[in-house]
């Protein structure tokens, strides 16, 4: 007999979340995911002076505020066909990477790992060690990680004034030119990040971590190794986390950290079912509101409005349903690394497809790659050149800003008239991952990932549900914005 259970408030997801599960014989047969908060940023921005987006858009999200700033700046830049100063691009990359690395570490240590300290696992041999290390608020790992995170975010003090919610990110670059001593301070902070990753997270040099190029190499590497990554891998094996949260939807990335000849992480779509990568066409992006508490305006974000309708009978979420060429896609660090062709991630995907375990692995591998890239960017800053380009703005027409936040693809579609905002549409990473069903009844990525999960008699209390949901590192405040 099918019974329906509601899970919420779903915490450690950055914001709030509600999940409804249909459970039949101890197995989830169907899931509905609800974003329970709508603040109306797209309505708030309408009619405002164009540049006010740079003050308001970052305030969509306190955990990925630089990402929101950069998407707004990119959209405004696109309207006017501007180019950002080279230093501004590098400084923005540095701040963005600092935020994203901080987010990956925050997710791993504060949001994801504490679930393994639960009493539900008290019988597992690893539980005492893991509970001491990762217990929510009290575990030893968080005591180490919070000061390290605060240190990493000092990059914001140097380049952007403060975090979250900085005004430093502009269409022409960034507002703060740094000097010789400050470059050294930057490199020192980046060195501290590297040190934390090598000592605490990986228990090995980043060079060795970045050389891991296959599932077999990862197996050999983790044998007898300390560090929190290897702790996770041991858990993942014991609990078969690679069998949880499986889906085989296309993985999408807008490409991340621009400047130079190519982005650090390539743009595109990788289909785990065929192991083929192909280019991304932003014109293929649509947003369906069939099951959202929204009135239907247009499928195209460049033509749509956001018009809430709390009484819509068919609705079950404030989140719209974005689709790429009509299909849901998964976004995030896993997608970025798969699209970019990271050999370890590609090999893991070839074996198991997207799942809870590989999502976490991709996030930590990406953090290692970021630490290396940040060092390079800081060295490349030309301290005699400007950080902010000067250019006349026209403030007329449409533009798209596509960037990669920690949690995946973030797009701002903007239309200006007389330098005022006529239309502002935002599709955030978790809008993709936690989308509701569309007009064809096709479920969103999390909804698909939850279906088929064995929950036994525990039902809504099953820890498996917690792992699957958090493996996406959702940001619910961004989702409906």
């Amino acid at each position: 007999m099918t019974r329906r259970v509601t899970v919420g408030p779903f915490n450690r997801v950055e914001g709030d979340l509600e999940v409804r599960l249909d459970i039949d014989d101890g197995v989830v047969t169907s899931a509905e995911v609800t974003a329970p908060l709508y603040r109306g940023f797209e309505q708030i921005l309408r009619g405002r002076p164009a540049l006010d987006a740079l003050t308001l858009a970052p305030r969509i999200c306190g955990i990925c505020s630089v990402s929101q700033s950069l998407a707004a700046a990119a959209a405004l830049r696109a309207v006017d066909g501007l180019r950002a100063a080279d230093n501004g691009v590098l400084a923005a990359n540095l701040a963005h990477a600092a935020e994203n690395a901080a987010d990956h570490l925050t997710h791993f240590y504060l949001f994801f790992m504490p679930d393994f300290a639960r009493d539900a696992y008290a019988a597992r041999p690893w539980h005492p060690d893991i509970a001491t290390r990762f217990k929510a608020v009290q575990g030893s790992a968080a005591q180490q990680m919070l000061p390290a995170r605060a240190r990493l975010l000092q990059i914001m003090g140097l380049l952007a004034g403060k975090w979250p919610h900085s005004l430093a990110f502009q269409p022409g670059g960034t507002t703060r030119a740094i000097d010789l001593g400050e470059r050294v301070q930057l490199l020192s902070i980046i060195g501290d990040l590297r040190d934390v990753l090598e000592r605490i997270v990986f228990a090995d040099s980043l060079d060795n971590v970045l050389a891991l190029d296959s599932a077999a190499a990862l197996e050999r590497w983790r044998e007898g190794r300390g560090g929190d990554f290897a702790r996770f891998l041991a858990l993942a094996d014991d609990l078969a986390l690679d069998r949880l949260g499986r889906i085989a939807l296309p993985l999408m990335s807008y490409g991340a950290y621009h400047g130079g000849d190519a982005p650090l992480f390539a743009a595109g779509v990788f289909d785990p079912a065929t192991a083929q990568a192909h280019p991304l066409d932003p014109n293929d992006i649509s947003e369906d509101v069939a099951r959202a508490w929204m009135r239907d305006t247009s499928l195209r974000p460049s033509e749509a409005e956001t018009d809430p309708d709390a009484d819509k009978q068919a609705g079950y979420s404030w989140c719209k349903a974005p689709r790429l060429a009509g299909r849901p896609v998964e976004v995030g660090a896993l997608a970025r690394q798969a699209v970019d062709g990271d050999p370890l991630i590609r090999d893991l995907l070839a074996r198991q497809g997207p799942n809870v375990s590989v999502r976490v692995i991709a996030r930590l591998i990406e953090t290692a790659r970021l630490a290396a890239a940040m060092h390079d960017w800081a060295r490349r800053l030309d301290l005699r050149a400007p950080f902010l380009g000067r250019a006349e703005r026209r403030g007329e027409g449409a533009g798209i800003g596509l960037i990669e936040a920690a949690r995946g693809s973030l797009g701002h579609w903007i239309e200006l008239s007389d330098d005022k905002i006529r239309r502002y549409q935002i599709i955030a990473p978790t809008t993709w991952n936690f989308s509701p069903r569309d007009r064809d009844g096709v479920a969103g990525p999390l909804e698909q990932a939850l279906a088929g999960t064995a929950v036994g008699d525990e039902g809504a209390r099953s820890v498996a549900i917690q792992h699957i949901v958090r493996s996406f590192d959702p940001c619910m405040v961004c989702t409906a914005h």
């Binding site: 899970v7 908060l37 403060k162 507002t175 709390a310």
Partner: protein, 333 residues
Amino acid sequence: MEPFNVLWLQGASCGGCTMAALDNGHSGWFADLARFGIDLIWHPSLSEATADEAVAIFERVADGAQRLDALVLEGAVLRGPNGTGRFNMLGGTHRAMLHWVRALAPCANYVVAAGSCAAFGGVPMAGSNPTDASGLQFAGVEAGGVLGAAFRSRAGLPVINIAGCAPHPGWIAETLAALALGGFDSEALDSFGRPRFYADHLAHHGCARNEYYEFKASAETLSQQGCLMEHLGCKATQAVGDCNQRGWNGGGSCTSGGGACIACTSPGFEASQNFMETAKLGGIPVGLPLDMPKAWFVALAALSKSATPKRVRANATADHVIVPPRTDHGRRK
């Protein structure tokens, strides 16, 4: 010693106040909380308890079975549509956050608004305020809000408004620690309920651009070093906060980062437009430094402009120092 129990809820928030709080202290925020005997009985971003385990905590507090020293709300309270609060439901409870705030606030010894949204409504109130957002005890500058102007928590205080978007990590941590230490009374709050330990200062105090301010040597566009008040919208002389006295993220601030102060500690800051442009009337900024008569400001500005040293004038419109201070061959008088 009994722990000081804190229940932290997020309404219509961006989560940024929590992200800021996590930035506090050399030993990390958790260690800092423990040092002052503060027990987070539940926090949406941090606690193990989830779903019905969390709801059970709220119900015990509402029933009086669990003592609550401080209820902290992060984010605005959404009253819409039509007073139902359905724009912000608390997952799994079939009830709006509006309901939970009203149910839990009377149970707390202190009610704390973390950030300008919970305090005054903040950014969700901007423009047409599409969700009927409000702060706990203010909606913009209007007293009232969700709990009403007459509301007093069990300890007899109005809502404590840690205004800021986001607030400095220290403002949050020190307010909670001061409450746990005891002796926190209405004298500690200003007329908008903001803790005076930071609200008795202006964001302008300690600004690294102070020499440019003194001589009215102004930046003309962003990324220049001059004062941001005349052209670029800076409200630091009107906004409360010790922003430039304590560093953000190791030593930064909005103005050091090259951005104007947007007065994010002030109720209604979100209603401004053209944040990075100074509104003027007859060439004079509309917003003048607090406590300063307009005629004196105009006279002093004219005088200091005429006295601006060449070095200050040149550096004001450059993105780094192009004229260094004179060395005078090492002589000092």
